[in-house]
């Protein structure tokens, strides 16, 4: 309820901010959490030096901004148009976006310039890192003001020593009150080692078991989500059901990569502990390796499908495929399964999988050296900290958004239906799944570890190499990727 008041306040303040801007007012921003959104939005006047009169926060902020005068260009670095479309949808200062999607004009004349580089092969990070290292020497309008990161490598940028992502409280956002409605694990993920939150996301990505209703009926005689959940309640049950599916010529899941996140999210220690240069392969990962081998040999995976994001995997989501289901977050249903599905709408269903885990998520950061601190704050609040806006995003793009109360409302909203899932409301399952997610074991080496362990063991699963050889290949690959890694420790 309190959140609602704040968001209404925020909404009003934005209008106020606009008028204030037009009138050239130099209202002071306030670092006080509760009313910060109202106060500081009005301070977005370009000519004012309001930041200096701020309290503690601005003292902090001065370390991170190159100029307290708001610049005319906001450079945002990202890897696709996902964030842009969300900003256009809910940030009420947006006037228009150029047809080619490279420049968004704001009402106060400021322009957002979008720099898009592909995520694949680490190109995005490579280019971003180069640019961040040159940030100090770049011209004011070329400096990065905001950038995005993914869960797999968010830690690299929120690192306190690197200090490239501005702490939210320096921007005038108090994570404890302003972002109280966000899922706690998303806040943990975006915080540095000492708990200072340096980024914020508009989505949480709990995964469900998304299955083909026709196959469910054929094998189990029902396509009811709760009954199907009973068939996949845990790995052992799922394996037993897999034998039933196999008897009828179906595969339970597409490939070993599809289960990786479920195991990988519940590791007990980070891949690399802070300060260490050794990789610890968790017992959970070994379980994944053993189970995957077992499942593949048992014929529960389609052995023609090697990993994800390839042609064979995409085709496994088509109507001719024999694959029963996928473990997918909300974005996976809408952006991966849906475009690849060529059958009738409503052929898929969703239910809880064997366990709750998170897959994906894009974090928004203010970039040290910016000259648009005010806009950054406004954008972060509008896209990630405003319940109404988040609900709008959910309704528009089917993202599972980062608002606990909002998601609860949608989960309980009987009128909310996903046609693609046969009229089911998947949020009924997403919402509790998100509540139980814990993510405490991140390290800045995660992306390489996650990617390379899957690649290296792919050969092992297919019987090309033995376990020791696969381990050796992983060690080789990880040391190539991260020169500072000195050893890889395998569990007994």
């Amino acid at each position: 309820m309190r959140k609602k008041v704040i968001s209404t306040l925020l909404a009003t303040s934005m209008v106020l901010g606009l008028t204030a801007c037009g009138g050239g007012s130099s209202d002071n921003g306030s670092s006080n959490a509760g009313s910060s959104s109202a106060g500081s939005s009005s301070a977005s006047s370009a000519s004012s030096s309001s930041e200096q009169s701020d309290g503690e926060a601005s003292a902090d902020l001065s370390k991170y901004v190159s100029s307290t005068d708001e610049g005319k260009v906001i450079n945002i670095w990202c890897w696709n148009d996902e964030f842009r479309t969300r900003v256009e949808k809910v940030y009420d200062q947006v006037e228009s976006t150029s047809e080619d999607g490279t420049v968004t004009k704001l009402k106060d004349g400021t322009e957002i310039h979008w720099t898009v580089n592909p995520n694949q092969d680490g190109v995005y990070q490579q280019k971003l890192d180069e640019a961040l290292l040159k940030q100090a020497d770049a011209a004011a309008d070329d400096k990065i003001d905001m950038f995005l990161s993914e869960t797999d490598y968010v830690t690299k940028y929120t690192d306190a020593d690197a200090d490239v992502a501005i702490p939210l409280d320096a921007l005038g956002i108090d994570p404890n009150s302003d972002l109280a409605d966000q899922y706690p694990f998303t806040k943990t993920v975006a915080s540095d080692a000492s708990g200072v939150q340096r980024g914020s996301t508009w989505q949480a990505c709990p995964c469900l078991f998304v299955y083909r209703r026709d196959i469910a009926k054929d094998v189990f005689g029902t396509d009811d989500p709760d009954e199907i959940h009973a068939k996949v309640a845990d790995w052992a049950t799922m394996k037993a059901s897999g034998e039933e599916l196999k008897a009828k010529g179906y595969f339970t899941l597409a490939s070993y990569a599809d289960t990786f996140r479920a195991y990988g999210n519940s590791i007990s220690k980070p891949w690399v502990e802070s300060g260490s240069t050794e990789i610890n392969v968790d017992q959970k990962i070994m379980e994944w390796i053993n189970d995957s081998k077992e499942w593949l040999d048992a014929g529960l995976f389609d052995k023609n499908i090697k990993g994800q994001w390839n042609d064979d995997w995409n085709k496994a989501m088509g109507s001719k495929s024999k694959v029963f289901g996928f473990l997918m977050p909300a974005w996976g249903i809408d952006f991966v399964i849906k475009p690849n599905w060529d059958g009738k709408e409503g052929s898929w269903g969703a239910c809880d999988g064997p366990l709750s885990f998170n897959w994906g998520g894009s974090f928004v950061h203010g970039c040290a050296g910016t000259d648009n601190a005010q806009h950054i704050k406004d954008i972060i609040m509008a896209v990630t900290g405003n319940k109404d806006n988040l609900i709008t995003i959910t309704k528009e793009y089917l993202d599972f958004t980062n608002t606990q109360s909002g998601m609860k409302e949608i989960a309980e909203d009987a009128s909310f239906k996903a046609d693609f899932l046969g009229g089911e409301n998947p949020y009924k399952y997403f919402q509790p799944a998100a509540d139980s997610i814990q993510m405490t074991t991140l390290s800045s080496y995660d992306q390489g570890c996650v990617e390379l362990i899957q690649n290296s063991f792919s050969d092992y699963f297919q019987g090309k190499v033995d376990l020791d050889k696969a381990k050796a290949n992983f060690e080789k690959a990880i040391k190539e990727r991260y020169p500072d890694i000195t050893a890889v420790n395998w569990p007994e």
């Binding site: 092969d121 680490g122 490579q126 890192d129 961040l132 290292l133 690299k156 940028y157 690192d159 020593d161 690197a162 490239v164 052995k303 023609n304 499908i305 090697k306 390839n310 042609d311 064979d312 085709k315 800045s444 690649n455 792919s458 050969d459 297919q462 090309k464 190499v465 050889k469 290949n473 080789k476 190539e480 990727r481 991260y482 020169p483 500072d484």
Partner: protein, 320 residues
Amino acid sequence: MKKKKSITRAKWGYLFILPFFLCYFIFSFIPLLDTIRYSFYEYYRSGLKIVGPNFVGLKNYAGILGPDLFRYMGNTFILWILGFIPQIVIALVLAAWFSDSRLKIHGEGFFKVVIYLPNLIMASAFAMLFFTMFSTSGPINNLLMDFGIIKKKIDFMGSVGGTRTLICIMNFLMWFGNTSIMLMAAIMGISPDLFEAASIDGCNPLQAFFRITLPMIRPILSYTLIVSLIGGLQMFDVPQIFTNGQGNPDRTSYTLIMWLNNFLKAPDYGRAGALSVYLFIVSGILCFFVYQMMKDDDQDGSKKAAKKQKKLAKQLAKNA
């Protein structure tokens, strides 16, 4: 008299080759020195932290020099030679056919144009097409199944042989046209009189090919060999895209430059530098052999210089 003249004109010689050497010095030589220098340092980036440069002597070299270096060198060589042999054989045969006046090939112009076409597609796009074609649920498997040639889908990319063969086929397709054109040119440079004389002496086309054509085009064959060898040593795009940078299964299609690329991406300037120096040494050794070959050819060539002038005149007349 002649010598005197040359001396006065020496400055022109220097002047004419100046742009080449200046450009080479700036864009290749300085970077090369830089690369060599950092090969002695520990210098890399981990996340956003830059480590080094700290002088570590030969540590990077020691780290690189292991069974893996020779393994990847072996992979590179295998991938090159398996592509090069069919390429040179087919190119020789085609060149012989195209330049054989007794053999009337219909649509000769068409074929000559078409064989070079694959060279126009960029390697990465070509690899991507191949990947789609030969994936387990791809059209090649479907076609083979439909015609009943195979009963079970073949996992081309899952086997060492399959992956290597496909990479070699790609390299072959991309380069055989180029090589054919080169060799054709060389064969056309051989005096027709030689073939006529051989024919009168009762030589069949096969004998003529081995006794006359091959020895006569040896220089251009070695040129082709060198160019192909350089290309082979630098093999990167095709296996990189085709195996998604992994060189799988078990790194059997992992080439030297793919390895270098991994260090460049890290980025680890130290180890990338050390590997570059090794590559440079390998190139140097290859270059030495090649240079020996060239020298022989040159001597051979100078003797026949006069003859060639005549042939050229003829050729020009024909083309005009």
